[in-house]
Amino acid sequence: MPFISRTIRQSDYSRFPSTCPIVIDNGGSYFRIGWAGETDPRLVFRNIVLRPRHKTTGETVTIVGDQDPTLLRYFDCTRSGPRSAFDNNVVYQFEIMEYILDFGFDRMGVDGSQCMPSFFLEITAFGVDAAFSYKYNQQLGVCDKDGLAICSGFATSHVIPIKVDHEISRFTWEKVEDLKMEHCYIAPDYASEVRLFQKGTKEAKEKTRCWQLPWVPPPTEEPPSEDEIARKAAIKERQGQRLREMAEAKRSSRINELENQLQGFEFLLQQLAYVQESDVPSFLAKGEQVESESKADPSTTEKFPLVNIPDEMLTPEQLKEKRKQLFLKTTTEGRQRAKQKRFEEEMERERQNQQDEEKRLENPELYLEQLRAKYKELSEKVEQRKCLKINGGSTNGNHNVSGGVGRGERLNAAQNERMRLLTTAAFDRGKGPDEDEAELARVTSRLQDIDPKFVPKSELGPLQSSTEVPWLRPMTKEDFQIVLGVERFRCPEILFQPNLIGINQAGLDEMVGVSLRRLPSKVEGLEERLTSNVFLTGGSSLYPGMSERLEAGIRMIRPCGSPIKIVKAYDPVFDAWRAAAAYAASLQFPQQTFTRMDYYEKGEDWLHRYQFKYSL
C-alpha cells in the first residue's frame, strides 16, 4: 500500500501552551512530527532533501520531502539526487537534518512570536521506538506484559527482550536485564532505519521534543492481475482472426496475379507463334528469358565474326580485332550466365515463398510460432556474436540509478547497448557469417509483415509473469510488462537471509535465538514467556506472511512444544509516535528529560552513562 505524505501547513500553533512538547519521530524514511497527547502526527513526509537548481533563475533551493513531480520540471535536479541525513540508520549529515527540522517546524506553524523563546526549552528525552510501540500496544491489550519486541526498520531490525520489572518503585526507565538489541543489517532499496543511541543533540537549536526513531513501510508492487490475463487472451483471439482474414486476402490476390501471368504467357505464346516458329521448342522449354537470349545469340555471332576463324588466316589487325571480340564475347556470355543463375535463384526463392505461404495459409498460428522461434534463435546468435565482439570494451555510461534487482531496469541499458551494437556492427562486418544476419533480416521483415503485434527484440520487456518459483518461464514477446515474479519475495527474504546480499549475519529468526541466549539471568520460564509474546513492529513487518515465517523460524530453534505466539502492532508505522506522544503528555515526562544546558555541562560521556531505562 503506497504511503502518502501529509505536509499541509498547520495553523493552530498558537493554541498550544508553551509547555506542550512537540514529538518527533525521526525515521530513516519518514519524518513524523506532531503534538504530544494527540493520536496522530500532524506532519508526515519523506526524510529526504533535494537541492536542485531553479532552471530560470539559477538559484539553488532546498526542497524537503517528496514533492509533486510535475512541479519539479521547473528545476534542474540532475546535479544531485535526493539526499538523506542517514547513513545506515545513524544521522550523520546534520545540515540535511537541519533542513528537515526546519521544514517540519515551519509547517507546524512555528513562528517567531513571543512564546518561541520559552519554547526553546531544550528538553530532550530519548526513547526507543520499539519499546514505545510495545507499551502502547500493551495498553491496547494487544500483548502481555513480558515479551520480545522485534522491530524491523528500513535498514536495521532489532530484537528486544522486554521484561517487566516487578519493582515499580523507580520512575526512571529501567533496562530489562541487559537490554540487548541485535541488529541485522538489511539492504533494501529504500532509505531509513532505527538507531538506539542517537547523538543528534549536537545541533544548535533544540526544542522540546522527544526523539524517536521510526520506520516506514516499503511499497510492494502487484503482478498483472486476472483482468490483464483476460485482456491478453482477447487480444490473441483478435490477432488470430486478423491473420486468417489477411491470409484470405493474400490468397485471393495471389490467385489474381497468377491468372494475370497466365494470360500474359498465353498472349506471348500467340505472338511468338507468328514471329519465330523455328525457335518455338527452345522457347517453350526455357520461357521468356530464352527468347531474349535467342535474340541475343544471333547478334553475338554477328558481332564477333572473327572469333570463329582460326588465327593463321588473319592479318595482325584482324588478330587484334579477334582478341577484342573474344574478350567481349566472354564477358557477355559471363553476364548472361550470371543472369541465368540469378533467375534460377529467384525461382528457387519464389518456390520456397510459395511453400511458406501455403504453410501459412493452412495454419497461421503455428506458422507464426515457428517463425518466431526461428527469429529468436537467429537473433540470439547474432546478438551473442555482437556481444562477444565488443565484450570487455567500454560501456556506454548508463548507470542504473536504483540498486534494485528487477530486470525492468536493465531494459534501458539493454536497449542502448543494442543500438550501439547495431550502429557499430553495421560498419564492421568482418567476423562471423553474414548469412545469419541476412537470414535474420529476412525473417524479421517477414514477421513484421504478417504479425501485426510483432516488435523487434530490442524494444521488448522481459519475461512474462508467473507465481511459481522453480518453473522456468518461456520468453515471450507479448507485452511490454515489467514483471515482478521472484523478486516479490526475494527482497524481503533478505531479512531472513542476509547472505543473499553478502552480509554475513544471521537472519531474523536466528537472531531471536541469539537474543534469547544472551539473556544473562536464567530465570525459570523466562524464555518461554518471551517467545510466547513476540511483538512485531516496524515498517518491514507489514510484509504479508511475516509472522508465519517468523513463527516457523523460531519454532526451529526452540525445543519442541514451547509456546510461540507472534503479535503484530496495531499500526506498525505510527505506533511509536503515538506512544511517545502519550508518554510526552504524561506527568513523569518533565522529570525524565534533560536539557541542553545539561548536555553542554556534562558532555557526551554523561549522555552515554545516562541510564536509558525502560519502565513499562
Binding site: 550523520y92 541485535e182 565484450n391 536493465r410 547497448e417 552480509i503
Partner: protein, 124 residues
C-alpha cells in the same frame, strides 16, 4: 519562480522566523559543506568502545553474529535455486539457459551482479 511553485510552497524558505541563526549564515554559499560530516564508519572509529563498561550495549556490540545455517545458493540472474557456479565470472546460475545469458553479458554487468552479492572484486 513560477506561480504554481510558489503556491505549492514546496521550496523551503530561506529565512525562518524561529531560527536564531539562519541556514545561509551558517553555511555561506560557495563553501564546501559536505566534507566535514563524518560517516558512520568514521564515527564508530572515533568512539573508543573499549572505554565503555563491558556489559553495556552500544552500537557495535549489539551486532548480530554470523549465521549458523549454511548459505543458500541462489542464482544471481533469475533468483531460483542455483546449484551451479561459473568459474569464469563467479556468478551462480540455475540452468543452461541462464548460463547462456551469463556468458553473453558484458563485463560491466557481471561486476554489478557480483556487487549485489558483495562479491565483486574491488580495486582500490
Amino acid at each position: 519562480m513560477e506561480a504554481e511553485v510558489v503556491e505549492s510552497e514546496m521550496v523551503l524558505p530561506t529565512h525562518l522566523r524561529f531560527k536564531r541563526i539562519q541556514m545561509y549564515e551558517k553555511y555561506p554559499k560557495g563553501q564546501s559543506r559536505g566534507r566535514h560530516w563524518k560517516h558512520l564508519k568514521q564515527i564508530l572509529q572515533a568512539e573508543n568502545f573499549q572505554n565503555y563498561r563491558p556489559n553495556e550495549p552500544h552500537y557495535v556490540n549489539i551486532e548480530s553474529p554470523p549465521s549458523m545455517h549454511p548459505c543458500k545458493r541462489i542464482c544471481d540472474i533469475t533468483g531460483y535455486e542455483a546449484p551451479y557456479f561459473d568459474p569464469r565470472t563467479n556468478l551462480r546460475y540455475a540452468n543452461a539457459e541462464v548460463f547462456k545469458i551469463i556468458r553473453s553479458l558484458p563485463n560491466d554487468y557481471v561486476q554489478r551482479y557480483l556487487a549485489l552479492r558483495n562479491a565483486a572484486v574491488v580495486l582500490k
